[in-house]
C-alpha cells in the first residue's frame, strides 16, 4: 500500500467513525526502539520518513521543512525528511548538546518511542542510555560501505544491554543500483560475526530512506525482496515474550500509610505475576507473609503483572520499607553484597578500583566499591583485554569514559538481585559519584556466582592472611592426626550418608576429631540462599570446600557427603582443600539407587516434579581417578568403612 492511500484510509476512518477509531488506538501496544548508525548512514532521513508517512508531522512544521529544504537540504528531492528530526545537528554545530533524543510516532497498531542517538565519540554512553529501555534496535548500514567496525560496535552494545530484536536496515540501495548481490553480501558479512552475540531475532531489510523504498511503502525497485517493509515489520514484531513473567519481583518503592488501618507497599512490578494470597518473603529480612490485597491504578484487583504500578497489603505486620523486595517464598533471587557485572563507564573522570560510589539498584541506594576490573572489552573487535594485575597496580585498574569492562562490585550491605540476562529490572544498576552526584556509570549483573577461590582476591587491601604462631606440626602432635577431607561423591541414594555416619562413629570411637558436612547442615544455614541451578550448585560446592579447608587447617577430619555431580566443581574443591583432599567415589548403579529411593525423590523427578535432578534430568559426571572407589551396592557398610580407614592410614592422616 502506498503511503498516500494509507493516509486516505486513515482519514476516512477518522471522519466516519471517530469513536471506533479512538477505541482501537486506545488499546494498541507500545514498542520502544533504538536507531543506530554512523554519521550519514541516513538515520535522520529514515526517522523523518517514518514520521512523515505516519501522520505525525503537522502541516505548519512541514511547511517550515519545505522552506528549509530549499536552504539547507542536502538532497535534490523536493523535501529532505532528515530536517524533520535534525534538531540535533543544528545544535551540534552550535556546540550544544550531543545526546539521546526521543521521537514519537504511532500507527493504529502500535505506538513507537524511538531513542535516537547521534553517532560519534560519545557513542557508547549514548547508545547504552538509549538501549536501556528498548526492545528493538535498528542498525543502519550504508549499502555502499557494508558492515564496518561501527556496525559491530553498535551490535555489541545492543546485545550487552539486553536487546533481543534487531533490524538491519541496509540503506541507500538506490546508490548501489538496487543490487540484490550487494545486499546478500552484506547479509552474509553480518551473519558471520553476529553469531557471537545474544540476539534472538534478526531481520534484514533493503531500503532507500530518502526515496521511501521499503520504509512504509513497498519498493518497486527492490522486487526481489519478499519480506515485510520496515514499518510493517515494526508493527508486527512480537515482543510480548521479552518480559520475564516467571520470577515475581516487587521492589518496594514507597510505604503508603494514609491512616492507621491501611499499610500499603507501593511499587512497580519488576517482573512476574502477583496474586492475592500468594506467600511472599520480604528481602533481605526473609520475613514471610501473604498478599492480602492488590490495588492497581483502577482499583482493587486479584492479580497484577509486570510492568504494572501497584500497591499491596499484607496479612501480617512484618517489617517492610523502601529498598526491600517482595518475592515468592519459593523463588528467591540472589542476596549478596557482591556481584560480577559488565560496566559501561559514562564520565570523563575514570572509574578506579578501590573507589567508593553510590550504587542505585531497583529502589535501593547503597554505597559500594569497585573492587576489581577483570578485563576490558574492545568494542571494535569485541575482544577482551585482561587486566594484568588486580589490586597491585592501581593504574592498570581503571575504566575510562565509554569503556566497557567486567567488574566486581562490593557493597556495604546486601541487596537482592537477578542476573540482567534473566531480569533487566533487578539486574541493572547505576553508579553515582559521591562528590558530584553525577551518574557516572551503568552496570549489568552477570550470571556468575562470585567465586573467591579464583577470583580477584581479597576485596580490601587490608585483608592478608595472618601468620599463625601455631604450626601444622603443633596441631598434629596435639590431635594425633592430620586435617583431611574425605570427599564422598555419588548419586542420590548411593549410600553416601550411611557411609558417612558409620565412618564418623568409627573415627570418634578411635579417638579422632571429625565432623560431617552434608546437605542437611549446609543447605539450611550457610547456603540457604542457593538453589539447584548449575551455577548455584557450583557455588554450593565452593563454599563447602572453603569450610572443609578451614576445618582441615584446624586439624579436623571432614567427611563431606554431597552428590557434587560436576568434575570441574570437584576439581575446584581439590584446589581449595589442596593436600588433604581425598576423593571417594561411592559407585552405586543408578538402577540400584532408584530402587532404594529412600526419600522418594527419583519418583518425583521422573514425574517431572523436581527440575534438574541428578541422574534423571541433570548429568552426573563420575570421577576419572578418585583416590578410592567404593562398590557400595554389593558391600556391607562395615567393610566399606574399614577400607576408608585403611586409606586414611596410608595417606598418613591417622596413625
Amino acid at each position: 500500500m502506498s503511503d498516500s492511500t494509507y493516509r486516505v484510509q486513515e482519514e476516512e476512518l477518522i471522519r466516519g467513525d471517530i469513536a471506533g477509531y479512538l477505541k482501537r488506538h486506545e488499546t494498541k501496544d507500545l514498542l520502544r526502539l533504538l536507531t543506530c548508525g554512523s554519521v550519514d548512514d541516513g538515520k535522520s532521513t529514515l526517522i523523518g520518513r517514518l514520521l512523515y508517512d505516519s501522520h505525525m508531522i503537522y502541516e505548519d512544521q512541514l511547511e517550515k521543512v519545505m522552506k528549509d529544504s530549499k536552504v539547507y537540504g542536502t538532497t535534490d528531492e523536493s523535501f529532505d525528511p532528515a530536517l524533520l528530526t535534525d534538531g540535533l545537528k543544528a545544535e551540534r554545530e552550535q556546540g550544544i548538546t550531543i545526546d539521546v533524543a526521543y521521537r514519537y510516532f504511532s500507527t493504529d497498531k502500535r505506538k513507537f518511542i524511538i531513542a535516537d542517538c547521534p553517532g560519534h565519540e560519545q557513542y557508547t554512553r549514548n547508545m547504552a542510555t538509549g538501549a536501556s529501555n528498548c526492545n528493538l534496535a535498528v542498525i543502519l548500514i550504508d549499502a555502499r560501505y557494508g558492515v564496518i567496525n561501527q556496525t559491530k560496535r553498535h551490535s555489541f552494545i545492543c546485545s550487552l544491554l539486553g536487546i533481543k530484536h534487531v533490524i538491519i536496515a541496509v540503506n541507500k540501495m538506490d546508490l548501489v543500483d538496487w543490487s540484490e548481490k550487494r545486499y546478500e553480501q552484506i547479509k552474509d558479512d553480518y551473519d558471520a560475526f553476529v553469531s557471537r552475540l545474544n540476539f534472538s531475532d534478526i531481520h534484514f531489510i533493503p531500503m532507500s530512506a530518502l526515496k521511501g523504498d521499503n520504509v512504509v511503502a513497498r519498493s518497486q525497485n527492490l522486487v526481489w525482496y519478499e519480506g515485510p517493509t520496515f514499518l510493517s515489520h515494526l508493527e508486527s514484531v512480537n515482543i510480548s515474550t521479552d518480559r520475564n513473567l516467571i520470577d515475581m519481583r516487587f521492589p518496594v518503592q514507597y510505604v503508603l500509610r494514609p491512616n492507621l488501618d491501611f499499610r500499603g507497599f507501593s511499587g512497580t512490578l519488576a517482573s512476574g505475576v502477583i496474586r492475592v494470597s500468594d506467600a511472599v518473603a520480604s528481602l533481605p529480612s526473609r520475613q514471610e507473609s501473604k498478599i492480602k490485597a492488590i490495588y492497581g491504578p483502577d482499583g482493587e484487583i486479584a492479580e497484577a503483572f509486570s510492568p504494572m504500578a501497584i500497591t499491596v497489603t499484607l496479612e501480617d505486620e512484618i517489617d517492610v520499607s523502601r529498598g526491600n523486595m517482595l518475592v515468592p517464598v519459593k523463588n528467591i533471587p540472589r542476596i549478596s553484597n557482591e556481584f560480577e557485572s559488565m560496566v559501561v563507564w559514562m564520565h570523563e573522570e575514570k572509574a578506579e578500583v578501590g573507589r567508593s560510589y553510590l550504587i542505585k539498584h531497583a529502589t535501593s541506594m547503597v554505597p559500594g566499591v569497585l573492587s576489581s576490573v577483570r578485563y576490558k572489552v574492545d568494542v571494535n573487535t569485541m575482544t577482551r583485554h585482561k587486566q594484568e594485575a588486580v589490586l597491585q597496580d592501581d593504574t592498570a585498574n581503571v575504566l575510562e569514559l565509554n569503556e566497557i569492562g567486567r567488574c566486581h562490585i562490593t557493597l556495604h550491605r546486601s541487596i537482592s538481585f537477578d542476573p540482567y540476562e534473566r531480569n533487566r529490572a533487578t539486574g541493572a544498576f547505576i553508579f553515582v559519584d559521591r562528590l558530584t552526584n553525577v551518574t557516572v556509570g551503568a552496570g549489568m549483573i552477570l550470571d556468575r556466582v562470585v567465586s573467591k577461590a579464583k577470583n580477584a582476591g581479597p576485596v580490601s587491601k587490608n585483608i592478608v592472611k595472618n601468620d599463625s604462631l601455631v604450626s601444622d606440626e603443633d596441631r598434629h602432635q596435639l590431635l594425633n592426626q592430620k586435617g583431611a577431607t574425605l570427599w564422598l561423591t555419588g548419586l542420590s541414594g548411593s549410600g553416601k550418608s550411611t557411609i558417612a555416619l558409620h565412618l564418623e562413629r568409627e573415627l570418634i570411637d578411635m579417638g579422632h576429631a571429625c565432623t560431617i558436612l552434608d546437605g542437611d547442615n549446609v543447605r539450611h544455614g550457610l547456603n540457604r540462599d542457593l538453589g539447584f541451578s548449575a551455577e548455584d550448585r557450583t557455588e554450593n560446592i565452593r563454599r563447602i570446600a572453603e569450610v572443609a579447608h578451614l576445618f582441615n587447617d584446624a586439624g579436623i577430619i571432614v567427611i563431606s557427603a554431597f552428590i557434587s555431580p560436576y568434575i570441574k566443581d570437584r576439581q575446584q574443591a581439590r584446589q581449595v582443600i589442596a593436600d588433604g583432599f581425598i576423593e571417594v567415589f561411592v559407585d552405586t548403579p543408578i538402577e540400584v539407587c532408584e530402587e532404594r529411593d529412600p526419600k522418594g525423590l527419583y519418583k518425583k523427578a521422573r514425574a517431572g516434579e523436581i527440575p534438574e535432578f541428578t541422574g534423571v534430568t541433570a548429568p552426573y559426571e563420575a570421577p576419572e581417578s578418585p583416590e578410592l572407589t567404593l562398590a557400595a551396592a554389593e558391600t556391607p557398610v562395615e567393610v566399606l568403612v574399614d577400607s576408608v580407614i585403611e586409606k586414611l592410614r596410608k595417606e598418613g592422616v591417622i596413625g
Binding site: 471517530i18 479512538l22 505548519d60 526521543y102 490495588y295 551503568a442
Partner: protein, 300 residues
C-alpha cells in the same frame, strides 16, 4: 502467557506513577507546578492514582500571572477541593497588579510574571523537586530532555551537564539549593493525553471545548475578551464566534481557533484532520528567543 499485556496508555500511566512515587520517596520537599491546562489535569490525576487511597503527599503550586482566563481560576478551586490538595499560589510581588501584557508586551509580561515569578517561588519555598507537565513531543529541543532534569542553585538548566538516564533508575542526588525538574509525562504525546482524558473521563477546563465566545481578530489570531482589562484597537469589533482553545495561558496571549468540537472525541477528530501543530496558538513561541533559551533561563 497472553493476556498479561498492557496497552500503551496503561504503560505510560504505570511509568508516570512510578516517577511520582520515586520522587515522593527520595526528595524532602517536592511540589507540582500546576498550570490548570489539560496536561496539568492529567498530571494531577496520575499523582492522585499514585498515592490512592492516600492523599497526594506534596502541594501544588500555581505561578499566577493574574491574566489567566476566569474559567481557569474557578477550575483551580474546584480541583483543589476534588483532590484535597494544598494549592499554593504565587504572584510575583514586583509585577503584581502592574504587569500588563497589553501595555508591556508578551515577552516582558511572561518574563516577569512567569519566569521570574517561578524562580522567586522556588527560592521562597526551597523545593527540591518540581514536577512539570512538559512532554518531549512538544518541541524539538525537548526531545532530549531527561525525566529528571537537573537545575543548579540559580534554577538554570545546563544542556551540557545533564545526567545520563538509564532504565528507570533515576538519580535524585543533589546538593543543597539545587533542584530537579521532574517530567512524569515525558513519553506522552498530544494524542496520548487526549486518549487518556477520554478513557479516564478526567475533567478539564471547559475552554477546551467549542462554544460561542466574544472574540476579536488581532494580528491573524482570535483573542477572547475575557474581561474589561482588554483595550480595543481602532477598527476592532467584538464578535461572537464558536471557538475553542488548544492551549491555555494568559488570555491576551492565547489564540482561539474556530471549531465545532464540543467533546473530546470531536476535538481529536478535528486535530487529526486539520494537521496544524498544537503550539501554534501560543503567541509566545513567535517571540525571538527559542525555547532552549527560555529553558536555560528557568522557564518550563
Amino acid at each position: 502467557m497472553s493476556g498479561y499485556n498492557l496497552s500503551h496508555l496503561k504503560q505510560l500511566e504505570a511509568e508516570s506513577i512510578h516517577i511520582f512515587r520515586e520522587v515522593a520517596a527520595e526528595f524532602t520537599n517536592p511540589v507540582m507546578l500546576y498550570s490548570i491546562g489539560k496536561d496539568s489535569s492529567v498530571m494531577l490525576y496520575l499523582a492522585h492514582k499514585a498515592f490512592a487511597p492516600g492523599k497526594i503527599p506534596f502541594p501544588l503550586m500555581h505561578v499566577d500571572t493574574q491574566w489567566k482566563f476566569k474559567e481557569m481560576y474557578s477550575f483551580r478551586t474546584l480541583m483543589a477541593e476534588k483532590y484535597q490538595v494544598n494549592v499554593k499560589v504565587w504572584i510575583n510581588p514586583e509585577g503584581k497588579d502592574i504587569s500588563n501584557p497589553f501595555l508591556h508586551g508578551s515577552e516582558k509580561h511572561t518574563q516577569v510574571m512567569k519566569t521570574d515569578g517561578l524562580k522567586q517561588a522556588l527560592d521562597h519555598y526551597r523545593f527540591d523537586a518540581v514536577f512539570g507537565g512538559a512532554r518531549r513531543d512538544e518541541e524539538k529541543s525537548r526531545a532530549k530532555e531527561r525525566v529528571y532534569s537537573f537545575r543548579n542553585k540559580f534554577h538554570q538548566w545546563d544542556p551540557k551537564n545533564q545526567r545520563p538516564e538509564l532504565w528507570n533508575l533515576y538519580n535524585a542526588k543533589i546538593n543543597k539549593g539545587e533542584s530537579i525538574r521532574v517530567f512524569p509525562l515525558s513519553n506522552w504525546t498530544e494524542i496520548d493525553i487526549w486518549l487518556y482524558l477520554l478513557r479516564e473521563e478526567i475533567p478539564i477546563v471547559p475552554l477546551y471545548f467549542a462554544a460561542e465566545r466574544p472574540v476579536v481578530q488581532r494580528e491573524g489570531t482570535l483573542i477572547m475578551i475575557d474581561d474589561d482589562r482588554m483595550p480595543l484597537r481602532v477598527g476592532e469589533t467584538p464578535m461572537m464566534k464558536k471557538v475553542r482553545f488548544r492551549t491555555l495561558g494568559c488570555y491576551p496571549l492565547t489564540g482561539a481557533i474556530e471549531s465545532n468540537a464540543e467533546t473530546v472525541e470531536e476535538i481529536v477528530q478535528e486535530m487529526l484532520l486539520t494537521t496544524t501543530s498544537e503550539r501554534q496558538g501560543r503567541i509566545i513561541d513567535g517571540d525571538n528567543s527559542s525555547m532552549e533559551d527560555k529553558k536555560k533561563d528557568g522557564y518550563f
